[in-house]
Symmetry: C3
Subunit: 139 residues, 3 copies
């Protein structure tokens, strides 16, 4: 059984954001699978998806600080600079973190660890609406 | 055909560890698929899964050195510090490396390259037992 | 419905390369699926796959510059040095970027964003031919 939907996320500020509830809500509208997989894919090259700690907002804050430090703006070797100083770093962060996550589905639900949530990495200053494709497979 | 099991890994020291054999053994107990995919998912936000060189232990050692250098402990901008100096770096490493790997299954076996193995990235000093979810799909 | 093929990529120079067309051509030879997933897996531990901007070649150039800066050659702590100064960095880049990408398939085609393409990350100076496994599933 294969199910697929697109989901629009409202614009969010630059940084990391928990979107587990958005995903859960969308998955709950599909037919439940006893065992399977959910693939969440982001259709953008300057934002990312990753799985990390779901409780303490300082984790998302420190992630943003870390990636700003280690993927600097205005590096002397950047040539792709015409879309703003946040653009090339956003592309590098997108590839470092990834454009999709896979989550096991078990008894109709995402089988995440107790402390895991799904993060949107918004790497542009004004990224706007972001579109996801959710693909649910299983039986 | 969808099959799914949970697998507990014994506690391992901080660093990178080959777990290909653990995965192979678990997959061998399931019904073989001629062509399909294996998804291995780790239910923790301070450990990771990745695929890399399977022969020389110095690769795992150098990986650990590299990520300790480029995801430092005690960075001045960390706010998430109450669980120890190894905790926030562990979260960043988990997102940089990823929480799942997908491996093609061909003629009943993982279709890895000759030099590829599956690594557990244990990013805490005392991470304890780690739980994986293995999802096998195919025909 | 599960389909799987291996695809050989011609040797490419060290750096990032758009391979979307190579993948599209291979997928077009398989039976189309209305909704499903494509997994592309690279059978090497010193090259990677990632999804990023598909239009401006300076993005691929800046990615290469960035990863050379932040995954240095000849780091004092490397022990895995006998295969050349580009080898250990290649392994680290492979794990940072990843060895597979998943792309939703919709109405027979890859459902990428308008600005997304699939990159080969060739991290060796002379990597030679690289082998991919493409797994298509869906209905």
């Amino acid at each position: 059984m294969w199910q697929q939907i697109e989901l629009s996320l409202k614009p969010r500020a630059r940084g990391f954001h928990l979107i587990t509830t958005d995903i859960e809500r969308a998955v709950a509208e599909l037919s439940p699978v006893r065992r399977g997989l959910l693939n969440v894919f982001i259709k953008h090259s300057s934002a990312s998806l990753t799985i990390n700690e779901n409780a303490d907002p300082t984790v998302r804050n420190d992630m943003e600080q870390h990636f700003n430090q280690f993927v600097p703006e205005n590096a002397s070797y950047y040539r792709h600079t015409h879309e703003g100083s946040d653009d090339m770093p956003a592309h590098i962060k997108a590839s470092t973190l990834g454009s999709s996550v896979s989550v096991p589905l078990t008894s109709g639900k995402m089988n995440l660890g107790m402390w895991q949530g799904i993060y949107l990495g918004e790497h542009r200053n004004y990224g706007g609406t972001r579109t996801l494709v959710l693909t649910v497979s299983g039986e």
